[in-house]
C-alpha cells in the first residue's frame, strides 16, 4: 500500500505537467482565432494554475516558505489585479511592456538567488543557465521599461542614439556582457555576475532607446519572446521541464508573431533593431517636424466638414494613433450614430498596423461599442473607397500615404496602405502638418480632394457633432430628412 502511494506521488507531478503543457499549447493556438480566443486565454490561465498546484504538491513547502509564498502572491496578485482593471484601453501597449518587463525581472531574480545564496555548489549546466537567465532577464526588464516609458511619452529619443555612436556603445556593452558571461561560470557569485548584470541592463536600454514609435510594437513583441527564453533559462536553473517547455513555446511563438508584425509593416527585423528611428536615418531633408515640403495644402473648418458629412451617403472613418491619444473613440462612435440616424452608411477602415500595436484600433473601437461588422480590414475596404463620398482620416498618416504605392523612392514604398485617395472627398483631422512615425511627407495632404481639419481629434469630432446637431441632423426621423437641404 505504501508502495502504490509512492508511485502515485511520483506520477502525479508528471501527469499534471503534461496536462498543463497540453492546455498551454491549446491556449496559444486558440488565441490566434477570433472565435476561440477568449476561452483559450482562460485555458492558458487554468494551465498555469494547474502547474502551480502540481509543483506545490511536489515541493511540499514548509510553513516559513508558505508565509513567503503568501506574501509574494498577495503583492503580485493584488498589483496585477488593480493594474489590469485600472489601465485604460488606450494604454495597452505600455501595459504589455510593463508586464513583460516584470516577467524578465522574475527570471533575473531567481538566477541571482541561485547564484548568490544557494548553499549547494551549482554544476556547470546551472552556471551556464544562470548566465543566460541573468543576461536575457536583465535585457528583457530594462528594454521593456524603456519601451513603456517611450510609449507613455516619458522618454524621448535622444539625438546621440540616432548617430552611429550607439552601435559603438552597444558593441562595447555586448563585449562587457561576453566578458561577464565567460567569467561567471568560473565563480558564480563574484565580480562577473555584477558585470554581466550591469552590462546586460545597459545593453537593454541602449538597444531599445534608439527605436522609434512605429517600430515599438515589434520591439515589445520581440522582448516578449525574450521573456519566454528567460523563463526557459530559469527552467534550466531550477531543473523544471515544464518551465523549459512553456518558455521555449512562448519564445518561439513570440518570434513568429514578431515576424508577422514586421511583414505587416513592410520592415525587416534587422532594420527595426539596428536602423534607428525611421526617417531620422533617411535622406536628411524630410525631417520629423518640417512642414516646409507642403505647397498645396487646403485647410477647412469643422463646419465645412460637417456640411460634407451631412450630404454624404457613404462615410468611411480611418482611425489612427491620433484617435487613441485624444481618447476620441467615444466621440467618434457618437458621431457615427448621429450619421447613421441620418441614413448615412458608416464604416471604419482598419489598417493592420494602425495605432501603436496591431489590433490596437479594433480594441479601442470595440470599447466604444462600435459594431464589429463595421470594422473593415484593409483588403475588404480598399475596393470600396471609390464608392465613398467622404473619408475622414483621424490621426492616421503613414498608413494612408499614396506614395507607398506610386513612388519607388519613398521609404514606405511597398507597404500596403489604405487607398483613401480613391474617395471623392477626404478630410484629414490632424494636430499639425508634422510627419508620421516614418518622418516623411504625405502626398495625400496635397491632393485636390483633400482638406485638412487642424485640431485634436476629440475636439474636432465634438465640433462636428455640434455643427451637425445645429443643422438638425439626427433630430428628425430618417425618412423625413431631406438630403441636401443645406
Amino acid at each position: 500500500m505504501d508502495l502504490s502511494q509512492m508511485d502515485l506521488m511520483e506520477v502525479f507531478p508528471y501527469a499534471i505537467d503534461l496536462v498543463a503543457v497540453l492546455l498551454l499549447a491549446l491556449g496559444i493556438k486558440g488565441l490566434s482565432k477570433v472565435s476561440s480566443a477568449r476561452s483559450a486565454n482562460g485555458l492558458a490561465a487554468l494551465a498555469l494554475g494547474l502547474a502551480v498546484v502540481g509543483l506545490l504538491v511536489q515541493l511540499q513547502p514548509g510553513s516559513t516558505a508558505w508565509l513567503w509564498i503568501a506574501a509574494g502572491t498577495a503583492l503580485g496578485g493584488l498589483a496585477g489585479l488593480i493594474t489590469a482593471q485600472r489601465v485604460p484601453m488606450t494604454a495597452m501597449p505600455e501595459t504589455v511592456a510593463l508586464f513583460n518587463g516584470c516577467g524578465g525581472m522574475a527570471s533575473l531574480l531567481v538566477a541571482l538567488g541561485v547564484a548568490l545564496f544557494q548553499s549547494s555548489e551549482p554544476n556547470l549546466v546551472s552556471r551556464i543557465s544562470i548566465v543566460i537567465s541573468v543576461f536575457v532577464g536583465a535585457i528583457t526588464f530594462s528594454g521593456s521599461i524603456v519601451a513603456m516609458a517611450k510609449l507613455q511619452g516619458w522618454l524621448d529619443t535622444p539625438g546621440w542614439t540616432q548617430s552611429s555612436l550607439r552601435h559603438a556603445v552597444n558593441l562595447a556593452l555586448a563585449g562587457l556582457c561576453l566578458v561577464g558571461a565567460i567569467g561567471l561560470p568560473i565563480e558564480p557569485s563574484g565580480w562577473a555576475l555584477w558585470l554581466l548584470l550591469a552590462a546586460s541592463t545597459l545593453l537593454g536600454i541602449g538597444v531599445t532607446l534608439p527605436i522609434g514609435g512605429a517600430d515599438m510594437p515589434v520591439v515589445i513583441s520581440l522582448l516578449n519572446s525574450y521573456s519566454g527564453v528567460a523563463a526557459a533559462a530559469a527552467g534550466f536553473v531550477v531543473g523544471s521541464q515544464l518551465l523549459i517547455v512553456a518558455g521555449a513555446m512562448v519564445g518561439a511563438a513570440g518570434l513568429i508573431l514578431t515576424q508577422v508584425m514586421c511583414t505587416a509593416m513592410n520592415r525587416s527585423l534587422v532594420s527595426v533593431l539596428f536602423g534607428g528611428a525611421l526617417g531620422a536615418t533617411g535622406g536628411g531633408g524630410s525631417g520629423a517636424s518640417s512642414d516646409a515640403g507642403y505647397t498645396r495644402i487646403t485647410s477647412c473648418s469643422a463646419e465645412e466638414c460637417a456640411i460634407a458629412l451631412e450630404q454624404a451617403e457613404r462615410v468611411v472613418f480611418v482611425p489612427g494613433y491620433g484617435l487613441a491619444v485624444a481618447q476620441a473613440q467615444h466621440s467618434l462612435r457618437e458621431l457615427s450614430k448621429l450619421l447613421e440616424a441620418h441614413g448615412v452608411e458608416v464604416s471604419y477602415a482598419i489598417h493592420p498596423v494602425a495605432g501603436r500595436m496591431p489590433g490596437h484600433m479594433n480594441v479601442l473601437l470595440a470599447e466604444a461599442d462600435v459594431p464589429y461588422e463595421q470594422l473593415l480590414e484593409m483588403d475588404i475596404i480598399n475596393p470600396e473607397f471609390p464608392r465613398a463620398d467622404v473619408v475622414i482620416v483621424l490621426g492616421a498618416n503613414d498608413v494612408v500615404n499614396p506614395d507607398a504605392k506610386t513612388d519607388p523612392t519613398s521609404p514606405l514604398y511597398g507597404m500596403p496602405v489604405l487607398e483613401v485617395d480613391q474617395a471623392r472627398q477626404v478630410f484629414v483631422v490632424k494636430r499639425s502638418l508634422g510627419a508620421g512615425y516614418a518622418g516623411i511627407a504625405n502626398a495625400l495632404f496635397e491632393l485636390p480632394q483633400t482638406a485638412m481639419v487642424f485640431g485634436d481629434a476629440k475636439a474636432v469630432l465634438n465640433g462636428l457633432l455640434t455643427e451637425l446637431r445645429g443643422m438638425g441632423v439626427g433630430k428628425t426621423p430618417v425618412g423625413s430628412t431631406a438630403k441636401g437641404k443645406t
Binding site: W68, T73, G76, V96, V110, A234, V238, A248
Partner: protein, 107 residues
C-alpha cells in the same frame, strides 16, 4: 548528463511546437495574442516557488524568491486579466450584446 540531454530535447521540441502553433493570425488578434503569450511567460513563477521551497530558511533566498514570485505573478494575473478584457470586447460585439456580463476568467 542524461537529465541535461533530456532537458535539451524538451527545449528543442518546445521551440518547434511554439513555431508551429501560430500560423496565420488576423491582425485584430495581434495585441491580445501578444498579451496572452506574455502572461504565459510569467510561468517563471514556478522557478520562484521552487526557490522559496528549497531555501532551507535562508532569509535572503526567501526574500528574493518572494520578490520574484511577486513580479512573475504581477505578469501572470495582470496579463491574463488584461487579455480577457480585450477579448471580452470582441466577443460581446460579435454576439450582438447577448451576454452582457463580461466575467474575467483568469486565475
Amino acid at each position: 548528463m542524461s537529465s541535461l540531454s533530456e532537458a535539451l530535447w524538451v527545449l528543442l521540441l518546445g521551440s518547434l511546437l511554439g513555431l508551429e502553433l501560430i500560423g496565420k493570425v488576423p491582425p485584430t488578434l495581434h495585441t491580445p495574442l501578444m498579451s496572452g503569450a506574455n502572461a504565459i511567460s510569467g510561468i517563471t513563477l514556478l522557478a520562484s516557488l521552487t526557490l522559496i521551497a528549497q531555501a532551507n530558511g535562508n532569509q535572503a533566498l526567501l526574500l528574493l524568491g518572494a520578490l520574484s514570485l511577486g513580479f512573475a505573478l504581477y505578469n501572470v494575473v495582470g496579463g491574463f486579466l488584461v487579455t480577457d478584457r480585450m477579448l471580452a470586447m470582441f466577443s460581446r460585439k460579435s454576439k450582438s450584446k447577448s451576454n452582457s456580463n463580461a466575467n474575467p476568467g483568469g486565475s
